[in-house]
């Protein structure tokens, strides 16, 4: 690691700008306190380094091809400058212009945000991951290129910066070394938002230059708009899978269920992250069991073209406003088509933020259909007395992860806790928790990004704080014979939990497993056959 790397060095040759040396990273709690026993960081191959921009650190998120000629480099720099101008113009960025401008012009450099950032802390305080590092690069470019007299005076007033292709390529990669968890924004005494700055940088790169993570765009938003889901499931496949889940769940619980499709006028349109259906079918099975038992008038939607009904993901939230708006409108159309009373979002954090909060600015008139979190409805059901519970079935240590988009951003803190306090006798909080909890390390799409050695970075650096928190929460019961459950009510967070558990062999070494919230509810249903939760399957 280069402990003294300066902002202006982002433009200077160095390969890389700062190393991520596993020896610099804070030591994890037992039994991972021996660095020798932790999986080794896989170095980037020479081939990858030759083909793609990799001069930031020791990993690659975006696979940006190196420009073939000086002309191409110049064209890319012009594109970047056009994009920069658009970020700060009302007609192109009316949604975020005000907080962006405030964040550019008011930072007091107090560094309160840095201490709140799990990536900065758990990288061993690597300067390039400091929340204000990338913000400061953008700030200097902003003053130099967009402010009157910038070319003449900004160097002295705001610090020097050179805009070349190296700066751009590194800044693009650097915008994918932040989970967009906005813990920094929460702590800033001036209310400035380094998370938004990172988000808008990603937006500039995607909308203006076609630079994005292909997992989020080609295989994410675009695939979703083409076939109906980022998982690739078309309506035929999703219906077939749900039928399988219904049968399988009925067998396991002894309670027959049949998921309703396309019911007009239903009270609730449930939209899952379709990853649940593919990879965590017990999640949908549990939702269906609970809704049926509570007598909810609910439905799924099989819309896949004019409207999007069965995959709530909206990866545009992470990188591209145009994609975000396209998908959000189609989600609302699915509800409008069926004439349902409201949309309920399943266990997916970013979908909560995208459809309920951000989309509020694009969904107007008859598309402004009530949208709410499953957490609230689940709490209502659990406390309604309609279902009989036997909490002794959940008598194992449980801790709760707080998905950033659902909890810190939207303030949905209590419903899931009250459910766990009622149904899980050994529930214990992480430290810190609620709106102060840390990101799982997979936020902003990282959980599905694992090209080259990016997974190593995600496991060693961005996921390190969550590892530490989980081990602390269970510190007195780490014996692998004691089964423990990390409840993570978000598909993206669950993907990260699964990867962490596998990577560090946490099930075999510590008896730590993971899953959603609804699985714990069904596991405690007195009328169901016991043992809904299956342990040790990853």
């Amino acid at each position: 690691m280069n402990p003294s790397v300066k902002v202006e060095e982002i433009s200077k040759p160095a390969d890389p700008l700062s190393h991520v040396d596993p020896r610099d990273l804070p030591i994890l709690p037992k039994p991972y306190d021996d660095a020798e026993k932790i999986p080794a960081w896989k170095p980037l191959s020479d081939k990858a380094k030759g083909e793609y921009e990799s001069s930031l650190d020791d990993t690659i998120a975006l696979s940006i091809r190196k420009p073939a000629s000086k002309e191409e480099e110049e064209r890319l720099i012009r594109q970047f400058l056009d994009g920069l101008e658009k970020l700060f113009s009302r007609e192109n960025n009316w949604t975020f212009l005000q907080p962006m401008t405030l964040s550019m012009e008011n930072c007091a450099k107090c560094q309160t945000c840095a201490e709140a950032c799990h990536i900065y802390e758990m990288s061993g305080h690597n300067e390039i991951y400091r929340p204000t590092y990338r913000a400061e690069v953008l700030r200097r470019l902003y003053y130099k290129y967009l402010k009157p007299g910038g070319a003449l005076f900004s160097k002295w007033l705001h610090g020097d910066i050179e805009l070349n292709w190296t700066t751009i390529a590194r800044l693009a990669e650097l915008s994918y070394r932040c989970n967009l968890c906005r813990r920094c924004a929460q702590t800033c005494p001036l209310g400035l938002d380094n998370g938004l700055i990172t988000h808008d940088l990603r937006k500039l790169f995607s909308q203006e230059m076609g630079i994005y993570a292909k997992e989020l765009h080609d295989n994410g938003s675009m695939l979703q708009l083409r076939v109906g889901s980022s998982t690739g499931m078309n309506p035929l496949v999703v219906k077939d899978n749900i039928e399988f889940i219904d049968e399988d769940t009925s067998e396991r619980t002894g309670i027959p269920i049949q998921t309703p499709w396309d019911v007009e006028g239903a009270d609730v349109l449930l939209i899952h992250n379709a990853g649940e259906i593919m990879a965590w079918p017990e999640n949908h099975g549990a939702f269906a069991t609970i809704f049926e038992a509570a007598g909810i008038r609910w439905t799924l939607s099989s819309e896949s073209q004019e409207a999007l009904g069965y995959d709530n993901i909206n990866y545009g939230l992470f990188y591209d406003d145009v994609m975000l708006a396209k998908v959000a409108v189609k989600h609302a159309k699915a509800a409008k088509k069926l004439g349902v009373k409201k949309i309920v979002l399943g266990e997916c954090g970013h979908a909560h933020k995208a459809l309920t909060v951000i989309a509020d600015r694009v969904l107007t008139g008859e598309l402004n259909i009530p949208r709410e979190s499953a957490m609230a409805l689940l709490k209502e059901i659990v406390f309604s007395g309609k279902i009989k519970f036997d909490p002794s079935r959940n008598d194992f240590p449980v801790t709760l992860h707080d998905p950033c988009n659902m909890v810190r951003l939207m303030g949905i803190v209590q419903p899931q806790r009250e459910i766990l306090q009622l149904l899980c006798p050994q529930f214990r909080e992480m430290t810190p928790h609620g709106v102060d909890n840390y990101c799982c390390g997979g936020g902003s799409g990282f959980a599905i990004m694992s090209g080259h050695n990016f997974e190593d970075w995600r496991m060693h650096v961005s996921g390190r704080k969550k590892m530490e928190q989980i081990l602390h929460a269970f510190h007195d019961e780490l014996d692998p014979s004691i089964r423990k459950y990390v409840c993570a009510p978000c598909s993206n967070c669950k993907g990260q939990m699964r990867d962490l558990i596998k990577y560090y062999d946490m099930w075999n070494q510590c008896g730590i497993s993971y899953g959603g919230l609804v699985e714990l509810i069904v596991n405690a249903m007195a009328d169901a056959q016991p043992g809904y939760i299956e342990w040790g399957l990853f």
Binding site: A48, G232, D311, L537
Partner: protein, 105 residues
């Protein structure tokens, strides 16, 4: 996009070695990918899994749910991991010539 040669044929692969277009996939190609995923030799049980994935993909254009794979092949997940150490999605699907799974899976 990188290109690799498998069983005498050229394939475009992504950065994790997943074949992008499986039109030319055959059993010899599968056997050539297998060692890169920790499968030394393809046994009958390996083929049961790979063929199920392959047939499902041909019919539906997407990988099967893991639970469905287990139920249809009558193998539990532990068994699948024993056969394919890198797992059903990264190991078995890759050998079956499928592209890398997409979405939050």
């Amino acid at each position: 996009m990188a290109t690799i040669e498998l069983a005498g044929k050229q394939f475009d692969v992504d950065e994790d070695g997943f074949i992008q277009d499986a039109t030319d996939w055959d059993e010899a190609v599968a056997a050539a990918i297998a060692p890169t995923e920790g499968v030394d030799s393809m046994t009958e049980e390996h083929w049961v899994v790979v063929n199920f994935i392959r047939d499902y993909y041909k019919e539906f254009g997407v990988a099967p749910m893991i639970r469905k794979l287990c139920k249809s092949t009558k193998m539990d997940l532990k068994k699948i991991y024993e056969l394919f150490p890198s797992g059903p999605a990264k190991g078995a699907c890759k050998i079956a010539g499928l592209p890398k799974p997409t979405g939050c899976v």
